[in-house]
């Protein structure tokens, strides 16, 4: 009940909040509502928005499918410490890599002359420059967010209840689904939201590995980038749409994780 929050935490926290909120307000102030409405109802915007939502959703699912097991392995396996540290550090690299370089790395992997180019072409699969490439790029940059958030939570909770459940005869899968994951639901929600947000905002890697074809690979951030070439104000207005979508998704996700 008693708040253990020292009073002096408030001023820097407020300042921190302002630091993020003020620029957002500055953008809001600039945007002309009529332009905004016209923009967000333009077919190219809508097509980009649809593509963005679809690909970000796919990427998020991929992130969950790969990231949850990865976080589990990082937090619960018996991999020796140094190897684990190195693996964790390597997995964080997409965070630090400039996205365009990340895109190049992907291109070097699945492109025609890439590492997997030969095998993929033999299978008749053309990954680069397709919608699949967008998902690939988004997943690449978004995966570390999920892994990191979830791993942190897994590390700091649940050992006792998990061991108790196993001691009562629950198999690892049941322990995982019945005890571990419900216990880290808030972190799982945070991680999912983070990776969705990162996927939604992804630009550099996408344009590099997927190109920018309307309806196929031109997501909302790419549309915003292109728009900036000709009409910077419109670009800013359109990015408001991105922000709105992200806000709605984040709020919904948090509500569901609570309820």
């Amino acid at each position: 009940m008693t708040s253990t929050l020292p009073r002096w935490a408030w001023p820097p926290a407020l300042f921190g909040a302002l630091f993020v909120l003020l620029p957002l307000a500055a953008v809001l102030v600039r945007v002309d509502p009529s332009t905004f409405l016209a923009l967000i109802s333009a077919p190219s915007s809508l097509s980009a928005l649809r593509l963005s939502l679809v690909t970000a959703a796919c990427s998020t699912v991929l992130c969950l499918l790969l990231g949850v097991p990865l976080a589990l392995v990082l937090s619960r396996s018996r991999i020796p410490g140094p190897a684990l540290s190195l693996l964790r550090a390597l997995l964080l690299i997409p965070l630090v890599l400039p996205p365009v370089v990340g895109g190049l790395a992907l291109l070097f992997t699945v492109g025609r002359q890439g590492l997997l180019g030969g095998p993929l072409q033999a299978l008749g699969l053309q990954v680069a420059f397709s919608t699949a490439a967008v998902v690939l790029a988004q997943t690449f940059v978004a995966l570390p967010f999920l892994v990191l958030t979830l791993e942190g939570a897994l590390r700091s909770t649940g050992g006792g209840a998990e061991r108790a459940a196993a001691a009562l005869g629950a198999r690892p899968t049941r322990v995982l689904l019945g005890v571990t994951l419900p216990g880290v639901l808030p972190a799982l929600a945070s991680g999912t939201v983070l990776s969705f947000a990162r996927a939604l905002g992804e630009f550099g890697a996408t344009i590099t590995v997927a190109g920018s074809l309307e309806g196929t690979t031109r997501t909302l951030p790419l549309e915003i980038y292109l728009l900036r070439e000709t009409d910077p104000d419109a670009a800013v207005a359109l990015s408001l749409l991105l922000v709105l979508v992200a806000l709605v998704v984040i709020l919904l996700a948090h509500r569901r994780a609570r309820g």
């Binding site: 061991r163 001691a167 009562l168 005869g169 049941r174 216990g183 639901l185």
Partner: protein
């Protein structure tokens, strides 16, 4: 399922071997840090010995030997259920969900699991808590739910770590009555600091100290004839070390040596005596084979000790002169400590005299209250 354990865990100071025949309940007692919880963790599969093995009903659950193939059956596959020292209920499940959890894990259909969980909750007196999450339960309520959950696991071997420690007197009594019924036909190990738990639930008692087995035996036996200081205090007895003396031919009040028996009751086969390192000879009842000069022990209830009356008395026993080292309340009596003997005296007796640390006291130890047995 009979249990065989043999293990060394150096980082916990554990080094023991132990066998538990099928269908028996063992009370595991010992001081804090003796290794009781560690032993349970070893059995449950949460701790791997540096060397040793755990075999339950012929199944090798753990085997670590140099050169041999290491076996460590995972916790969930051992058919060993543990109720740990902390309840560790699953926080997002209700009390009912927690109790149903091990049933569901065994594949019991949801409806049946819930029905059985309801029954079990009722048995531990927590029926009305079924829909509450652990975070909204009191400590004792959580413990009740944890007990019901452990019972729901229906294991071959049940491990209970201080299951009663947070229960109120009623719940403790109910669960002391419930557990033996449930444990019938199963093997179980119950860790406890309460002699009542051992008496009411366990066939055998094992005393663990410093990671080693100090003593073990059938409950009544071990509690009546403890062989370690800890076991004696656990049983509520004072323990005296010495050597078997010549059995006196007759009972009576002995001045630490020869015995005089004003009642004239003749000495029987049951009579024995223990010679203390001080040279004094204590009269008592013999239990087990005793040859004069063999190391032997005398156990007695401190409450049976009285102040020796200055005039003659009809009680048969031994009078020992001691110096008081400490006094403390003990129930409605006062515990008087001396170098080797404790006496629980009525407050009147203490108040009347001038008993205080340092003062001399003559204690009468009734012969019938003393059991004398070989130190083994």
């Amino acid at each position: 399922m009979s249990l065989h354990v043999e293990a060394q865990v150096p980082e916990r100071g554990l080094d023991l071997a132990l066998d538990l025949p099928a269908g028996r309940t063992l009370a595991l007692v010992g001081p804090n840090g003796a290794g009781k919880s560690s032993l349970l963790a070893l059995l449950g599969g949460d701790l791997r010995p540096a060397r040793g093995e755990v075999v339950l009903g012929g199944r090798v659950l753990t085997s670590v030997r140099p050169g041999g193939r290491t076996v460590q059956v995972p916790a969930h596959a051992r058919r060993v259920a543990t109720l740990g020292q902390e309840a560790h209920l699953i926080p997002h499940l209700t009390a009912l969900g927690n109790v149903a959890f091990p049933l569901r894990a065994r594949g019991v259909p949801r409806r049946d699991a819930r029905a059985r969980a309801h029954e079990l909750l009722a048995e531990v007196g927590a029926a009305d808590l079924a829909e509450r999450r652990p975070g909204r339960l009191s400590g004792g309520q959580q413990q009740r739910v944890a007990i019901a959950r452990a019972l729901a696991a229906d294991p071959e071997l049940l491990l209970l770590d201080e299951p009663m420690s947070t229960l109120d007197v009623d719940a403790a009594a109910e669960i002391r009555a419930l557990l033996p019924r449930f444990l019938e036909g199963r093997s179980a190990v119950v860790v406890t600091h309460d002699v009542l738990d051992a008496i009411t639930m366990a066939h055998d008692v094992l005393v663990l100290e410093g990671g080693e087995v100090q003593d073990r035996g059938p409950t009544a036996d071990l509690l009546a004839r403890p062989r370690t200081a800890f076991a004696a205090r656990f049983a509520g007895l004072a323990l005296l070390h010495g050597r078997a003396g010549a059995a006196p031919t007759a009972g009576g009040v002995a001045e630490g040596a020869g015995a005089v028996d004003p009642t004239g009751v003749p000495g029987t086969d049951q009579d024995a005596a223990l010679r203390l390192p001080t040279g004094e000879l204590i009269q008592g009842r013999r239990s087990g084979d005793l040859r004069e000069g063999d190391p032997a022990l005398a156990a007695l209830r401190p409450a049976a000790v009285t102040l020796a009356p200055s005039t003659g008395d009809r009680t048969a026993g031994t009078v020992l002169a001691r110096t008081v080292t400490g006094l403390e309340p003990r129930g409605d009596l006062v515990r008087v400590r001396t170098a080797d003997l404790e006496a629980d005296l009525a407050p009147e007796a203490v108040a009347a005299g001038t008993l205080r640390p340092g003062s001399d006291v003559r204690l009468l130890v009734p012969r019938d209250a003393v059991t004398i047995y070989p130190a083994r």
